[in-house]
């Protein structure tokens, strides 16, 4: 229910700029419900984030979201997906980058580009068990260190595995 028509042209511009700059890394781009999601390769994630931040005005990394696609993909090695929500406040547009965490369940840390990624990545490590290479201090943020398992994985039961008292 977007009250204001989203500036689709502006988003398409961003997509084009990304494709021009990173022809190999940018794969698909989906425009849905007024939001643009761009699939990127992990090798150039930091480059893309830097490009968006310093040259395209996406000054804020609003959030990092992890998904466990166990239900649709099954027990494959690459069931985790990371989404990076970026906001350009000057142009008033949002952009979402989509990154496959891959078989080794890890991703490059975005902290060198956006300091706000720090706790968001720790949270994903805690909840999903994905590792971020280059993160300054990757440890559990919510659960105690001795907790076993990662609750937001789809195969983790809601009531836990009896690690309580």
């Amino acid at each position: 229910m977007p009250e204001k028509p989203v500036d689709e042209a502006a988003l398409r511009d961003e997509e084009r700029a990304l494709r021009d700059r990173f022809p190999e890394s940018v794969r698909e781009a989906a425009f849905e419900k007024g939001e643009l999601t761009v699939d990127v390769g992990r090798a150039s994630l930091l480059e893309i984030l830097r490009f968006l931040k310093f040259e395209r005005g996406f000054s804020s990394l609003t959030d990092i979201i992890a998904l466990d696609l166990l239900r649709s993909r099954g027990e494959t090695a690459s069931r985790f997906v990371l989404l990076y929500e970026l906001t350009n406040f000057a142009a008033r547009i949002r952009l979402r980058l989509r990154l496959e965490a891959g078989a080794d369940e890890s991703a490059p840390s975005a902290v060198p580009v956006f300091k706000s990624a720090d706790w968001a990545e720790r949270e994903i490590f805690d909840m999903f068990g994905l590792r971020f290479e280059g993160h300054p201090c990757l440890n559990r943020i919510y659960l105690p260190d001795e907790f076993e398992g990662h609750p937001l994985r789809k195969d983790f039961p809601l009531e836990g595995r009896g690690h309580g008292l």
Partner: protein
């Protein structure tokens, strides 16, 4: 003095960590060397729980996130679901939502100034703020029955229309708030002790604030004009005329002034909204077992604490596949360590208070 560096543990049970936050401090003769927040003492597994609930069931659970502003949580979640499902909300409901969300902002800020002043040692302000807040909670109670966890915004609209007596009551409360605000500001604004404790304390530069994802009043206190209500208008906020108060120095005092001015702006907004209530229904037809079409969406609103975003991914069933909340307190708290460095131990309490954190939405 006898000791050099000592390590102090503040919390998780400490009078002024606003809940069960734990801070690990390294202190050298009362000067703070480092602060490390340790979270998770209120981690309730909300996001996991939501995956097993229907959309309708999740709305009351969002009340328990930022429990000082439950209606804002409702609004954020409901708007995201509606965006995903393409529900058209009647105009009257949109305006009533503005009224409710702004009343909630008033309540949240009034409680905040009380907690903040209490942390700095001015205990009466807490009572004045809470007394005024009670009047707002009375409106919620009359509207839908809840005081704290209101559940006053539902999928597709609002549960009840605003009727004449209730509107009159809201207007009476709106008339009273500026008096309370004046009392509070008379006690604090030019108070020398208050200024000593807040001016130039916990400073963060605009660049650092943006870099660390700060939102809400702490960001606006640095002079960066960002307000989701203006930048990405929702629920017909763009129909109304209001200002975004800004600070200059990004210190605790400016955060206080920004919030106080926001109270005035919210009053202005509610008055306009009450005048401009369009006729019509207050709720679109939404089935109780609401099957949301598959897809993903991110929607953010301006909660009293900052940008509150919900990412929802649906697989087409009546339960979401994943809900991720961007809680403003969580992201704002990241900047605490930077703000505290080099300040005195006594100021940690004030700086923490000035961020307006609620553990419910930090730990989720």
């Amino acid at each position: 003095m006898a000791f050099k560096e000592i390590e102090l543990n503040m919390g998780p049970q400490h009078p002024s960590t606003h809940g069960v936050l734990r801070l690990k401090l390294a202190v050298d003769n009362e000067v703070v060397l480092s602060v490390e927040p340790i979270l998770g003492y209120l981690h309730r597994g909300m996001e996991k729980l939501w995956e097993s609930q229907t959309y309708t069931q999740i709305v009351p659970l969002t009340d328990r996130l930022d429990y000082l502003a439950s209606l804002s949580n409702n609004l954020g979640f409901v708007l995201a679901v509606e965006k995903l499902a393409g529900v058209e909300v009647p105009k009257r409901a949109q305006v009533i939502r503005v009224v409710l969300a702004e009343l909630q902002r008033l309540a949240s800020h009034l409680a905040w100034v009380g907690f903040m002043a209490n942390d700095i040692g001015a205990m009466s302000i807490l009572l004045y703020g809470f007394e005024q807040r009670e009047d707002i909670l009375d409106i919620f109670e009359e509207y839908i029955g809840g005081r704290l966890t209101v559940h006053g915004i539902r999928l597709g609209g609002v549960p009840r229309d605003l009727d004449g007596p209730l509107i009159a009551r809201i207007k009476t409360v709106l008339d009273a708030i500026p008096h309370t605000l004046h009392d509070i500001q008379a006690l604090l604004n030019e108070n020398r002790i208050w200024k000593q404790r807040t001016v130039g304390v916990g400073v963060i530069s605009p660049a650092e604030a943006v870099e660390r994802g700060l939102t809400g009043p702490p960001l606006r206190a640095t002079g960066v004009a960002r307000d989701t209500r203006k930048d990405f208008p929702y629920s017909s906020y763009d129909d109304f005329d209001f200002d975004v108060p800004l600070g200059k120095n990004g210190d605790v005092y400016d955060r206080y002034r920004v919030r106080m001015e926001e109270i005035n702006q919210s009053i202005r907004l509610i008055r306009q909204a009450l005048e401009a209530l369009p006729p019509g229904d207050v709720r679109a037809k939404v089935p109780r077992l609401f099957k949301v079409p598959a897809g993903e969406v991110y929607h953010a609103i301006e909660a009293p604490k900052g940008e509150l975003g919900f990412y929802i991914r649906s697989d087409g069933s009546e339960k979401p596949d994943r809900v991720k909340m961007r809680s403003p307190s969580f992201i704002n708290l990241q900047s605490l360590a930077l703000m505290c460095q080099g300040n005195l131990f006594a100021d940690v309490v004030g700086i923490l208070g000035s961020l307006d954190i609620v553990l419910g939405e930090i730990d989720k």
